[in-house]
């Protein structure tokens, strides 16, 4: 296993950074209007928008998190793709995109204004803007932490004579400046181009990793023999909360993950929808999520399998990690900081499982133990350790660049979504409504600047408070789940009214909050994990609690929206043309041969997803 990077690895990283900035510079001259900057002039072809659509979701937290989940739960993690993404992507492409794209709204909050009113848009815009800043900041923080953990910047810092304690700050600053550079120069187009590059980097960086890992464990059969029992099955034990890795029964899984959370994200989150709204035509916009669904089905093999392989491999001893260094360090009479660090890492690796090390307390250097006194495993190290284990110099640089590209792409995606929602849905709506297009273009650039600055602040908040990521996930669940009901009713029930939507949305958020305040996952302490009013129910896993929070939020929003709508005055029919399904002519499909229609493509994708579920049942 590597302990240091070679100059060739750094060269690969530096070239990538130069490349993304170069793309920003090359696109700068095309940014003439606010539509160019925020919506790529609505000129992106379907394939490019499709790859950007998938990559906008493929931040490194996703890559690292899915591999970690693969190491913890096995192939069942693929439910986040085959059940928790594909049906929603098909639905948004076939049924919802005509209204997002056809209404000419520039953002999803703006669609809410067109369909309902200003207050519903305001609520959505403000919560979304805050979430994008926090997400971007957390991406920065996790990336800086990974750079520190993997000692990626150690050699250049040592060469420059700078203290190692600065690595964290420099990582944040460099990533922020590069992201700022290319988004500021090339707007959404630049972000989309880099997302496409990131897609290719992920494939180029992880495909050989999976091949080498499978070869090493004796192929798929060998992997199943060596991995924990049931790790090769997606549906084994899923019907019972006691045996399900998510601690939830089939209804909770299908309704919570398969419907509310996945549809809530893929069908309403502007971060991904923005990519489709930048497409060059309605046809391309509808095909965007369908094209994205194809790689999405295959990605579990790239990001989940490395985790499974990592846990199936034999646990290395300290001496196996790096024989000569290990010998020197373990026999050292007077250990210094470096030998201490190595000794801790070696102890953590030896106390782990396969290539998954035990968690080490950053302050004390001690291995962290769970309630049963067993070492807690640091599953997030699955991908990084696999890269270090299998990749020689050069390939290692490529693998790490793919990870860094994912982080930066995640940040850029959030920053571009933020600058659009800020400029159109907050600044233009509430601060300066009647300015020129040139002014809003300027504001978009300025929002990119202060959005990045706020993201840096958010990264330090995340570093200061361990629970900030849990909090953000909670806010996502609280806000996105009810939003799905608002959009579905808005698009498919013409009787839904503005007051119904607003009070429904608020009720959904309140219902999710109350559910969280009254329940707790097993083994957790009350507080950020739940039960901060009282503990009326204990879930076996935190995911079961999330799924049910989402279900309650969705149901509350749906019921309240319907009830309030029935008691308030509806919109006139002519105001709903292009915004509601029953009020909009459907002519796009009829112009294409049957196999090119979104419905045919969507059906093919669904059949393939069902087949994968059957094969890996």
């Amino acid at each position: 296993m590597h302990t240091t990077l070679a100059w060739i690895d750094y060269l690969i990283m530096v070239i990538y950074f130069a490349f993304v900035l170069g793309i920003g510079f090359s696109l700068k001259r095309y940014m003439k209007t606010s539509t160019d900057f925020f919506l790529s002039g609505r000129s992106i072809p379907a394939w490019v928008a499709g790859l950007a659509f998938i990559s906008a979701n493929l931040g490194a937290q996703e890559v690292i998190g899915m591999a970690a989940s693969g190491a913890k739960y096995g192939i069942a993690t693929a439910h986040f793709y085959w059940l928790g993404a594909i049906p929603a992507m098909v639905f948004v492409g076939i049924f919802m995109m005509p209204f997002y794209y056809g209404s000419r709204a520039r953002s999803t909050p703006e669609y809410l204004r067109l369909r309902f009113d200003e207050k519903t848009r305001g609520l959505n815009a403000i919560t979304f803007a805050l979430m994008t800043i926090m997400s971007s900041g957390i991406s920065m923080y996790v990336m800086a932490k990974l750079i520190v953990t993997l000692h990626i910047f150690d050699a250049p810092m040592r060469a420059a004579g700078l203290p190692m304690s600065w690595i964290f700050h420099i990582s944040i600053l460099v990533s922020a400046l590069i992201t700022l550079g290319y988004v500021y120069l090339g707007g959404l187009t630049s972000a989309i181009y880099n997302e496409v590059l990131q897609f290719f980097l992920i494939v180029a960086g992880f495909f050989p990793l999976v091949c080498l890992g499978l070869k090493s464990v004796g192929g798929w059969e060998g992997l199943l023999e060596k991995a924990p029992s049931g790790f090769g099955h997606a549906w084994q034990g899923m019907t019972d909360p006691a045996t399900s890795p998510f601690g939830v029964e089939v209804f909770g899984l299908a309704m919570g993950l398969g419907f509310v959370l996945s549809f809530g994200y893929w069908c309403t989150d502007f971060l991904v929808i923005q990519r489709a709204m930048a497409a060059d035509s309605m046809r391309s916009a509808r095909r965007t999520p369908l094209i994205a669904a194809v790689p999405k089905m295959i990605f579990p093999f790239l990001v989940i399998l490395p985790g499974l392989i990592a846990v199936a491999l034999p646990t290395p001893t300290a001496a196996e990690l790096v024989p000569d260094v290990a010998e020197k360090v373990l026999n050292a009479d007077k250990p210094d900081d470096q030998t201490d660090a190595f000794r801790n890492a070696a102890a953590a690796a030896a106390a782990g499982k396969g290539l998954i090390p035990a968690k080490v307390d950053f302050v004390s250097g001690e291995i962290m133990l769970d309630a049963d006194g067993k070492p807690e495993l640091d599953y997030d190290m699955a991908i990084p350790n696999m890269l270090l284990h299998y990749f020689p110099t050069g390939l290692l640089g490529l693998g790490l660049t793919a990870l860094l590209a994912s982080f930066m792409s995640g940040m850029a995606g959030n920053v571009t979504a933020f600058n659009t929602v800020w400029t159109f849905d907050i600044y233009q709506a509430y601060i300066k409504p009647q300015a020129s297009d040139k002014h809003y273009l300027w504001m978009g650039h300025f929002a990119t600047l202060f959005g990045t600055a706020f993201s840096i602040a958010a990264a330090y908040v995340a570093a200061r408070f361990n629970n900030i990521m849990d909090l953000l996930q909670l806010v996502f669940a609280f806000v996105n789940a009810p939003l799905l009901a608002t959009f579905l009713l808005g698009m498919f029930w013409k009787r839904a009214t503005a007051d119904g939507a607003f009070f429904g949305l608020l009720s959904g958020i309140v219902a999710a909050t109350i559910h969280h305040a009254l329940t707790l996952p097993m083994g957790s302490e009350w507080g950020i994990k739940g039960a901060w009013i009282a503990n009326l129910h204990t879930y076996r896993e935190v995911m079961a609690q999330s799924f049910w929070s989402a279900i309650f939020a969705f149901a509350a929003c749906l019921v309240v929206t319907v009830v309030v709508s029935l008691f308030t005055r509806p919109h006139k029919d002519e105001e709903l043309v292009g915004l509601v399904y029953s009020m909009t002519p459907h002519t796009v499909d009829e112009e294409q041969t049957w196999y090119k229609r979104p419905a045919a493509l969507g059906a093919a994708v669904i059949i393939a997803a069902v087949a994968l579920n059957v094969i890996f049942r």
């Binding site: 060269l11 490349f19 003439k32 000129s43 290719f200 091949c211 020689p392 110099t393 490529l398």
Partner: protein, 75 residues
């Protein structure tokens, strides 16, 4: 990308090709070097020379993209 009122932007696929070709050259070169001078502490399965074959594949894919989507051919 296409736009009737603006100069044609360089295709993203061309950028992809340039990046893959560059990485292909670097990684294949490193693979050849490892073949001639095996590292002192080889990684697991180093004898498969993954850097060599994967680097070559990246290079070929990159060259294909560069040729097929070169700016002169756009439009």
């Amino acid at each position: 990308m296409t736009s009737t009122s603006k100069p044609e932007a360089v295709s993203i696929w061309f950028f992809v090709g340039v990046l893959l070709a560059f990485y292909g050259v670097v990684i294949t070169g490193e693979g050849l070097y490892h073949l001639a001078y095996p590292p002192e502490r080889p990684v697991v399965l180093a004898w498969l020379h993954a850097d060599l074959w994967w680097g070559a594949l990246l290079l070929l894919s990159g060259l294909f993209y560069c040729y097929h989507f070169a700016p002169r051919k756009a439009g």
